[in-house]
């Protein structure tokens, strides 16, 4: 009976499984060959810095000359999308988070026009194992647009970034895109709390993976990277729009849950001389936005689960999203995209699954909430 009544999706899945089985059997050497060939083609065109992991379809990598010419001062508006905080476990343990990650991939692939690139916002894995990170890489391979990788603490603290860097390259880098200077930071360094406690790598990872244990140190960009950032920005003029991607919010939101970057003040000081700075961060799994001086901050949604709002420290400009319905695994999760305007400011669209999208405009933040206020929630946090 099974064969006779094979449903359409059964047939599709079987075909799909065949392709993916082939993909899984791809050994490391042939994988590197494929990636190298891809990267080589891209580098040859002078499009991407060689140190960032890029999954590129050649057709999409070519810059859009026509729109570049039509834009203001040769700085056209562009869009990029993001997927963040997928928290993948091994596929044998948990399919829920895989399903959500795949849904996000499908979302960004359906964007028309396609975004210039897709930012991955960190926490690809839940506990940073090679299997989890490799699974994440497989899923992100399906993204049609180039992927810009950022690391999160869940990816890092099992082996202190060894596997992640092997797969995706250095965790901090910068590039210029259509007149905007983009910096990707590794903002989730922590002071050594594990050696004195004689923690195994697994215990260290499990500790960092929890929000409310109080054992771990707080996140920081750290002195060496702040120096790197200063040098990187030294040659950039203060009128150039700056985009900063960091996993943790680059300000101090709530200490107890590590919604926090300990040296945020120093990093903000480095960014202060620029007219327009937009920080896009992951980690907080919620609609979250803030304005500090010249810097606009947007938090990204997670695909895996939403965090509640912290009991203190929520930026006054943030409009809370409705509380999540736990019946619906997608509720209050999602992905999103940023529209980089001709003037270099960024409007953010929160693509909340199973809800209407919410747009937060740069003008809302820069007017300190006077205009373009996003819709209020019916049920705010307790």
């Amino acid at each position: 009976m099974a064969a006779r009544h094979k449903s359409v999706e059964t047939k599709f899945m079987e075909e799909r499984d065949r392709v993916l089985r082939a993909l899984r059997n791809l050994d490391r050497r042939s994988f590197i060959k494929v990636v190298a060939a891809t990267a080589g083609a891209v580098i040859a065109k002078g499009l991407m810095p060689p140190h960032s992991f890029q999954l590129v379809t050649i057709a999409n990598a070519a810059p859009d000359k026509a729109s570049a010419a039509s834009g203001m001062n040769g700085q056209p508006p562009f869009t990029f999308a993001y997927i963040s905080d997928t928290h993948l476990y091994e596929r044998t343990l948990n399919q829920r988070f895989i399903r959500a990650a795949l849904k996000a991939v499908e979302d960004v692939n359906a964007l028309d026009p396609q975004p210039d690139f897709v930012l991955f916002g960190g926490d690809l894995a839940q506990l940073g194992t090679p299997q989890q990170l490799e699974l994440g890489r497989e899923i992100l391979k399906e993204v049609k647009a180039p992927v810009k990788m950022m690391v999160g603490e869940h990816d890092w603290f099992l082996d202190l970034g060894e596997k992640w860097q092997e797969l995706f390259g250095p965790p901090n880098y910068s590039f210029d895109w259509k007149g905007v200077h983009v910096v990707v930071l590794m903002s989730v360094h922590e002071k050594d709390f594990w050696t004195a406690r004689r923690m195994t790598p697994e215990e260290r990872m499990a500790t960092v993976a929890g929000l409310d244990n109080g054992v771990q140190s707080r996140f920081e960009v750290g002195e060496p990277q702040r120096e790197w950032l200063k040098n990187d920005l030294a040659k950039v003029s203060s009128s150039t729009p700056i985009l900063v991607f960091s996993h943790s919010p680059l300000y101090k939101y709530y200490y107890n849950w590590n919604f926090w970057t300990d040296d945020a003040d120093q990093v903000q000081a480095i960014l202060r001389r620029f007219d327009k700075v937009t920080v896009i961060h992951g980690h907080t799994h919620q609609m979250l936005f803030n304005q500090i001086g010249n810097i606009s901050f947007y938090g990204m949604l997670s695909t895996a689960w939403p965090w509640p709002y912290a009991p203190q420290g929520l930026p006054a400009l943030t409009i809370q999203m409705n509380r999540a319905d736990p019946f619906d695994q997608f509720d209050a999760c999602g992905d999103g995209r940023m529209e980089v305007r001709a003037d270099g400011l960024v409007d953010k669209i929160y693509n909340l699954w199973d809800r209407n999208p919410v747009t937060v405009k740069a003008d809302y933040l820069r007017s300190r909430g006077k205009i373009d206020r996003p819709p209020a929630p019916q049920f705010a946090s307790y």
């Binding site: 399919q95 929890g210 107890n256 689960w305 939403p306 509640p308 509380r323």
Partner: protein, 242 residues
């Protein structure tokens, strides 16, 4: 900075939680299941021995065979006999004062007394059920905290909870946030009926956690409830709130 105290306290309690989770808690749970008992002398005449709550005075009811339930009037009679027995042995004492002397102290601000000398006997409004030493308070607090900590352990450990997909409570509810125990009972749309906190804990175990629901009397469920309530200390009850 306002966060500093939080840091210290947080680190200390978390470290304590990790240790106690491993070593102390199973013992604590056993202790809960078997409260301390006063040994009763064996019956001499085949009846049932009943002891007064001073832990010393006892009489035997000959008409009541072991395992039988006394009637209400039998019960009253026994109580009177026991008190008579006690007065016979303590002709100069007053029952209530005597029990208060076992360590009287006021209800209010129990811990503030801990470092001072114990109050003089017989000077409080003490009675049997309200005369407690600062040690009593410490014991209660420790026991309560162990119960809460056990809940905290399960709350943070998907395996202990019986989950199957690596999802633990704290992943969506750090510090028990957004569990709003003060709003129960309320109509819970996932269940389409009025629910208590424990109903929703069970729902979460069955659905996002993908485990098996716990019986209302399951120690794990009770401990989880304890932890969740403990996180909302001081929040006014507001049943039915959405």
């Amino acid at each position: 900075m306002s966060f500093k105290p939080n840091q210290t306290v947080g680190a200390a309690t978390a470290a304590a939680a990790i240790l106690s989770a491993i070593v102390i808690l199973p013992a604590a749970l056993r202790a809960q299941q078997a409260p301390p008992a006063h040994p009763v002398p064996p019956p001499k005449n085949g009846g049932t021995v009943v002891m007064l709550c001073d832990g010393k005075t006892s009489i035997e009811i000959k008409s009541l065979k072991p395992g039988e339930q006394p009637t209400e009037s039998q019960g009253r009679e026994v109580a009177n006999e026991l008190m008579a027995e006690w007065r016979k042995e303590h002709p100069d004492e007053h029952w209530q004062m005597a029990q208060a002397d076992a360590g009287a102290k006021p209800h209010a601000d129990p811990m503030s007394q801990a470092s001072k000398s114990p109050p003089a006997t017989g000077q409080q409004q003490g009675d049997t059920y309200a005369s407690f030493t600062s040690r009593d308070y410490k014991v209660w607090q420790a026991e309560t905290q162990k119960f809460v900590d056990e809940g905290k352990r399960i709350f943070h450990d998907w395996k202990a909870l019986g989950g199957t997909i690596g999802v633990s409570c704290d992943m969506c509810h750090p510090d028990g946030a957004n569990t709003h125990p003060e709003t129960y009972p309320k109509y819970q749309v996932q269940l389409q009926r009025v629910a208590l906190l424990r109903d929703m804990i069970d729902w979460c175990i069955e659905n996002p956690v993908k485990g098996k629901t716990l019986d209302p009397n399951d120690p794990k469920l009770r401990a989880l409830e304890a932890y969740i309530y403990a996180q909302r200390k001081g929040v006014p009850l507001d049943y039915g709130k959405h």
